[in-house]
Amino acid sequence: MPFLLFALLFLILPVLYLVNGAFQTPDGRYSLETMLSLSAPEIASSYLLSIQLSLASAAMGTVFGLVLGYTLLLGGLPGWVRRAFMTFSGVASNFAGVPLAFAFIATLGRLGLVTLVLRDIFGINIYAAGFTLFSFWGLALTYLYFQLPLMVLMITPALEGLRPEWREAAESLGASRKQYLTRVALPLLAPSVLGCFLLLFANAFGTLATIYALTSANFPVVPIVLFQQIRGNVLYNPNLGYALAVGMILIMGLTNTLYFILRRRAERWQK
């Protein structure tokens, strides 16, 4: 079957090649040495930075996306508002990469519109206060531009699955709105929300182009380090590059596996 051959050649073999290389030393000996060298300070700090940035942007995306999604679907807003947000979310969640970086430079860069408006009209100089777009939180905020709409889109089915009868049943049993939210709605949404969080994490973890264009590759998250390694072998050890890649696959694989387990659980309830 052509698909299997294609997948073998361009998905499985490349991965196996990297995995194989990650468990060898540069002189071709099989060893855990290379994988263990991921704990070297500069590599480990790259992973830490990547994980922190992904966690921060995924957490913000999850919380704000849940609030926005809940408001749009169950907040009593007119239908056209919901439809407008949904269409926009479909576009914004795909608006990533280099153009997104440009947009945020024009917005929150040193000469960005919002920076200037805040400085000239409100007298708040965010750059003097220590903010820069090219910092951790600047990047997290930029990521939020595609994480938030992605969360809105992904959590919508779960929110739609909250049947109005459940709220009415809770009310008829004397529960207040808050009691319904904390005891019924949130526990019901929890697996979906956690699952979405994991996907947002994975999404941020693999992001390269946005950060590359924003910081000119000067922000050492794992994808950037790996990119530089492929470009110019900055690590002086090709096998360390393989280990870096395998580390990424492991983290992505773990998050996605957890996501599928959680989704199973959520689907069980949605019958």
């Binding site: 698909f3 998905l11 947000f85 280099v98 390269l208 182009a209």
Partner: protein, 275 residues
């Protein structure tokens, strides 16, 4: 349901709208400021007048179209066979189709340059043509999760097995069945997947850049380093381009065979007729 004026809801929606719109407004505003003291489309004009822009755009467009064609050729028969003959293979195929979401593009292309590099059995990166082929393949891999899901959904909405049996009982060959019965019925799903593929590959940066192709993604980064106003103009154009692709994707994903291209016109008249 109580109809309390949802002040909190309105507030949240306004904040959300501001977060979404302010960067776009800022970018658009910035893109108009190329000429000092006036608002003009000079940045856009400058982008369009550049030969590089046109050449990278056409390179990316051709590569993306090739990726779409190759993707369709690989995914449609697979999805068809899995639904019809090999339902047991389904979990395997679905897992494979989702793998590109788990393996970051930078890892994937790392594997490519090592396996298909200069000293390998199949040295694709030795020639321009070979590298271009590898680029298209990379785009196909990136789009497979979306393409497969779009086409599989399209096939789920029609009863593939019965349609095939019906066509065969009327004397059609297998190839004819696919070409005349199956393909037209999942055409909308295919087109829908194609637009998503198009929007992904047009601006793709990681694979393109690491394969050193003269395409749109690396060009954008270069523009960002060399110019001030043109990048904003390009960002606005990219946003509009993404919007168009998404709208067309959505339109085709929900379109039924035989339905008109602009379903809302039809729907509205029907509703009016009912009332």
């Amino acid at each position: 349901m109580t109809r309390r004026p949802p002040i909190l809801s309105i507030l949240i929606a306004l904040i959300g709208a501001a977060f979404f719109l302010v960067p776009l407004i800022a970018t658009f505003n910035f893109s108009l400021r190329m000429k000092r003291g006036e608002l003009s489309f000079a940045a856009y004009r400058s982008v369009f007048e550049s030969d590089t822009f046109l050449s990278v755009l056409s390179f990316s467009a051709v590569a993306s179209l090739m990726a779409i064609v190759l993707g369709i050729l690989i995914v449609v028969p697979t999805a068809y066979w899995v639904r019809l003959r090999l339902p047991r293979m389904r979990p395997v195929i679905e897992f494979l189709s989702l793998m590109p979401l788990i393996i970051p593009p930078v890892v994937l292309v790392f594997g490519y340059v090592r396996i298909y590099g200069t000293s390998s059995i199949l040295p694709l990166t030795m020639t321009q043509m070979g590298t271009n082929i590898l680029l298209v393949i990379g785009y196909v891999v990136l789009s497979i999760p979306y393409m497969y899901r779009a086409i599989d959904n399209g096939m789920a909405s029609i009863d593939i097995a019965t349609l095939t049996e019906a066509a065969e009982s009327l004397g059609a060959s297998r190839l004819r069945t696919i070409a005349v019965v199956i393909f037209p019925n999942v055409q909308s799903a295919i087109v829908s997947g194609a637009f998503l593929t198009f929007s992904i590959s047009m601006g793709e940066f990681v694979i393109t850049s690491l394969l050193n192709r003269p395409a749109f993604g690396p060009y954008l980064v270069q523009m960002g380093q060399d110019f001030a106003y043109q990048p904003s103009a390009l960002a606005i154009m990219a946003f509009v381009f993404t919007w168009v692709c998404m709208v067309l994707m959505e339109l085709f994903a929900t379109r039924k065979p035989g339905q008109r291209l602009l379903p809302w016109f039809v729907r509205r008249t029907v509703q009016k007729g009912k009332l």
